[in-house]
């Protein structure tokens, strides 16, 4: 009877939530696993939760029984025992602890042991290797071998600021959308190497059961074998500064054929980009591209208007460095010059040489020297950047 009423109540509450559109996506447990590891994790998690629930309900039941029956206002006379006294009582007192030992180290301990072994088996039979680099506040992906070897790109949050600051309707993939998702083939064991350029980040895709820290100066690794094609989303989950909530992970899992095709086209795209580095660029083209690169990569810290957020992030508008020469009389890069800062980084300012290509660096530097009220009038050619590599 009581149970029935409980169920009805539960259904009513569930229905009330269900009617909301966004709610349809919410899950009460881990999202659907798509790798063996996530499968295993979900399984272990469900088992442990069940065990804990049973322990909880049994203990709660005993307590509630006592609360109902052993009351002063019911005239219950208090006992005065302070411990088990007979041998039988000692035995029955020890039973729960024996049970707990069994639960901890056998019932839970053994499956947990196997999951750890699975989780850490990153190298055996790996089909391909990718390297993931965390940086404030984006991910860079590099394919280390196989069909896609050499492909390297940066993946940025695509959600516009207007949506975040409530000036525009939020899209369905709000905060979980990127410009360049990482593409992986299904059915292949992918060994994922992780590192970082600045602070610690954590690469997390719940449906893969994978979360591992990206640590500056060290390589860490994990793995995933995705069993189903689809788009899988996750987020950085180590506090990494003001953009921590805004560096999602998006993985496109595709069939092997599609992966090959994607790798071809991506390679062609990157080759085309490096080919244009040879040609002479006009100032208009550099400025147009520079604005785009700047707003995607630099404005999180230096702001769209170049005014920065002092003291943490210096303004570029009117900056001595930006309004100074890049090369000395012999054509050598001046230390601590504008280009040096952008190319090599300095303290919190990231080094962009590994992240942006020659054209992008040339464009963004040109843009900064001729925007926000800066009027250097000069331009940097991609070839000049290339010469630095």
């Amino acid at each position: 009877m009581a149970l029935k009423r409980f169920k009805a109540m539960g259904a009513a509450i569930a229905l009330a939530f269900w009617s909301k559109v966004a709610y349809a996506e919410f899950v009460w447990n881990f999202p659907k696993p798509v790798t063996p590891l996530a499968e295993d994790t979900l399984h272990v998690h469900n088992k442990f939760m069940l065990i804990c629930m049973v322990i909880f309900l049994v203990v709660l039941g005993i307590m509630i029984y006592s609360i109902i029956h052993h009351r002063k206002d019911k005239g219950y006379k208090p006992a005065n025992f302070t411990g088990p006294s007979t041998k039988a009582q000692v035995f029955w007192t020890l039973v729960p602890f024996a049970l707990l030992l069994y639960i901890d180290f056998i019932l839970m301990g053994i499956p947990a042991y196997h999951s750890v072994i699975t989780m850490e088996d990153t190298k055996n039979n790996a089909d391909m290797v990718i390297k993931v680099t965390g940086m404030q506040w984006r991910w860079q992906y590099e394919y280390m071998d196989g069909d896609a070897k050499g492909i390297k790109f940066v993946s940025n949050l695509k959600t516009p600021q207007e949506q975040i600051y409530n000036q525009a309707e939020k899209g369905p993939d709000y905060l979980l959308e990127v410009d360049n998702p990482v593409v992986l083939p299904v059915g292949k064991k992918v060994r994922i190497l992780l590192t970082s350029n600045d602070v610690i980040h954590t690469w997390w895709v719940p449906q893969f059961g994978v979360a591992r820290d990206a640590i500056p100066g060290f390589l860490r690794e994990t793995w995933a074998r995705i069993d189903e094609p689809g788009t899988y989303k996750g987020q950085c989950k180590e506090l990494c500064g003001k953009g921590h909530g805004f560096m999602p992970v998006v993985v496109n899992a595709v069939s092997e054929d599609e992966f090959k095709k994607w790798a071809e086209s991506k390679k062609a795209e990157l080759a085309a980009a490096s080919a244009v580095a040879e040609k002479e660029w006009s100032k208009e083209d550099l400025m147009a591209l520079g604005k785009e690169v700047y707003e995607k990569n630099c404005s999180v810290c230096h702001q769209v208007d170049g005014k920065g957020v002092p003291p943490a992030f210096p303004p570029l508008a009117g900056s001595k460095i930006v309004n100074g020469p890049n090369f000395d009389a012999e054509g050598k890069l001046i230390k601590d010059s504008h280009l040096d800062r952008v190319f090599n980084g300095f303290r919190v300012m990231p080094a962009w040489k590994g992240v942006l290509n020659d054209v992008e660096i040339a464009a963004v530097v040109t843009y900064e020297r001729n925007a926000f009220g800066n009027a250097m009038g000069d331009l940097l050619q991609p070839a000049q950047v290339k010469a630095l590599r």
């Binding site: 909301k20 966004a22 919410f26 009460w28 447990n29 999202p31 590891l37 272990v44 804990c52 322990i55 203990v59 709660l60 005993i62 307590m63 006592s66 609360i67 052993h70 009351r71 002063k72 208090p78 006992a79 302070t82 411990g83 729960p96 901890d104 180290f105 301990g109 947990a112 999951s115 750890v116 600051y165 409530n166 939020k170 993939d173 709000y174 905060l175 979980l176 600045d198 602070v199 610690i200 954590t202 997390w204 719940p206 979360a211 820290d213 640590i215 500056p216 100066g217 060290f218 860490r220 690794e221 987020q235 989950k237 180590e238 506090l239 500064g241 003001k242 953009g243 909530g245 943490a312």
Partner: protein, 531 residues
């Protein structure tokens, strides 16, 4: 005896009045009161920050603040709640109760005691000052790394980190001094006949806490000092490019951070049995077992820290060791739960406010403990870690297990401390609002975490919207209902309410109940003898 003693004492005892009384006092009750009042104020300050956080998270999108400021709020909220609310509250109770419970005239080192307290307000100011400085354009606000100070983020961030480092130093020194005082008092000032195995459990809990503090605070102090030199003096302890290791910081931090959890909980585990036994009108079950469990947990807590950092990538044997050692804490903890419930079993229970809090505490802390057990599982931890599941878990252990325990203790000893009864009606209302709103706030967070919401994010994807809204509503009810608590305490201090008997609780046991309510300024003019 008491009235005669009081009259006599009022006659010849001159201590300064007004502000000087509080600045210079070496009286354990005065100092205890200051600690408790300080803790209550900081509880409200830290709570206000939590409410600002929950207000921002009420809906997706950035509404009220910038992400930088959000990050400052979460970190300072945690530092305040841990170091400036829970720890001082525990020390306040220790000051008040340990001398009374062991039959000592005062704490062993009264001047150290005074100093220990007066380090706290400057520390609280250091923590929060950067917020105010930022308003005047100095620096960029308070520490924005979360309370964990992880390098290299904390090397990168602004002056808020330096302020927090010095605040932690002051708080640490204060805690160590308090601990030394408590250890010395318990070892040397017990009334004749009070052997260690007759020590009240509250004193036992605190004794272990004090040892843990002395063992771990220096490690924290060392770690943040290394951070300071990395920031300003060119060292590279935590910088791989200079031969250091960012993960070293996490290991040092959690070598302190894990025992810290038990530092906060042991005093509560200490006084819960007093309350349970009083309102069950039945002696504490398994006294010895509880003492040994305190020891076991204290020692184990020093060797399990790395379960906080499973995702950094560790060798398999290390993962297994930290997993199994963490799971084994469930054994002594289960002993405690067993004893608490066995104390209630076949008692003659009544449910005044302290007992309500103690009972609710067992249930909610139980949820915290059990979710801790699943968190020990390394593979699943990859999902739980730094998700809202963990946020919910540690609020079940630290708000329910810590704060609500402190509330139980407050209602239990408030009549003794102030000589007045609080309003039972309001106390019960406070309990029910707190318990319900607490679950409304934190239960949804378990599910948010499972569904994939990371912690410490100022904005979230749309599928998390409903549960965040529920959680925020719960948080506001929870926050506002604490005003009842404050009202209850303030009215007792102001002498409103019925006069309290020397022993207001029928089943209460212990030397503190043999004194008048409130106890005379100098307790025990005649040393009691324990049989």
């Amino acid at each position: 005896m008491t009235t005669a003693a009081q009259a006599h004492e009022a006659h010849h005892d001159h201590h300064p009045t007004g502000i000087m009384r509080w600045l210079t006092t070496t009286n354990h009750k005065d100092i205890g009161t200051m600690y408790l009042v300080f803790a209550l104020i900081m509880f409200m300050v830290g709570g206000a920050m939590a409410l600002a956080v929950r207000a921002e998270l009420f809906q997706p999108g950035m509404q009220l603040m910038r992400p930088e400021f959000f990050n400052q709020l979460i970190g300072v909220h945690a530092l305040i709640m841990i170091f400036a609310a829970l720890m001082p509250a525990a020390t306040g109770f220790a000051n008040w109760l340990i001398p009374l419970q062991i039959g000592a005239p005062d704490m062993a080192l009264p001047r150290l005691n005074n100093w220990g307290f007066w380090l706290l307000p400057p520390a609280a100011i250091l923590l929060t000052l950067p917020f105010i400085l930022a308003l005047f354009g100095i620096g960029d606000g308070a520490i924005a790394t979360g309370w964990t100070f992880y390098a290299p983020l904390s090397v990168q961030e602004g002056i808020g980190v330096d302020f927090a480092i010095f605040a932690v130093h002051l708080l640490g020194i204060s805690s160590v001094m308090g601990s030394i005082n408590i250890i010395v008092t318990i070892f040397n000032m017990r009334a004749p006949g009070m052997t260690m195995m007759k020590l009240p459990l509250f004193a036992w809990g605190w004794l272990i806490t004090a040892f843990l503090l002395i063992a771990t605070i220096p490690v924290l102090a060392g770690a943040v000092t290394m951070l300071l030199t990395d920031r300003h003096f060119g060292t590279h302890f935590f910088n791989a490019a200079g031969g250091g290791d960012p993960i070293l910081f996490q290991h040092l931090f959690w070598f302190f951070g894990h025992p810290e959890v038990y530092i906060l909980l042991l005093p509560v585990w200490g006084f819960i049995p007093h309350i349970l036994s009083a309102f069950s009108r039945k002696p504490t079950y398994g006294y010895k077992a509880q003492v040994y469990s305190f020891w076991a947990i204290g020692i184990l807590s020093l060797v399990v820290w790395a379960h906080h950092v499973f995702t950094v990538g560790m060798p398999v044997p290390a993962l297994l060791y930290f997993m199994y050692s963490t799971m084994s804490i469930s054994l002594p903890l289960a002993v405690l739960f067993f004893c608490w419930i066995a104390t209630m079993w076949r008692g003659a229970m009544s449910f005044e406010t302290p007992m309500l809090f103690a009972t609710g505490w067992i249930i909610l802390f139980g949820i915290g403990g059990l979710t801790g057990l699943v968190l020990a599982d390394v593979a699943a931890d990859a999902q739980y870690h730094h998700s809202y599941f963990v946020v919910a878990h540690f609020h079940y252990t630290l708000f329910a297990g810590g704060m609500m325990g402190m509330m139980a203790g407050t209602y239990f000893w408030l009549p003794k401390m102030t000589g007045r009864m609080y309003s039972e009606k309001l106390g019960k209302l406070h309990f029910w609002l707190t318990a319900i709103a607490f679950n409304l706030t934190f239960m949804p967070q378990f599910f948010l975490g499972l569904a994939g919401m990371p912690r410490r994010i100022p904005d979230y994807a749309l599928q998390f919207a409903e549960f965040n809204m529920i959680s925020s509503i719960g948080a506001f009810i929870l926050g506002l209902s604490q005003l009842i608590f404050v009202y209850n305490i303030v009215s007792c201090i102001r002498g409103q309410g019925e006069k309290a008997a020397d022993k207001p609780w029928e089943g209460a046991e212990g030397l503190e109940w043999t004194l008048s309510s409130p106890p005379p300024y100098h307790s025990f003019t005649v040393q009691p003898v324990v049989k």
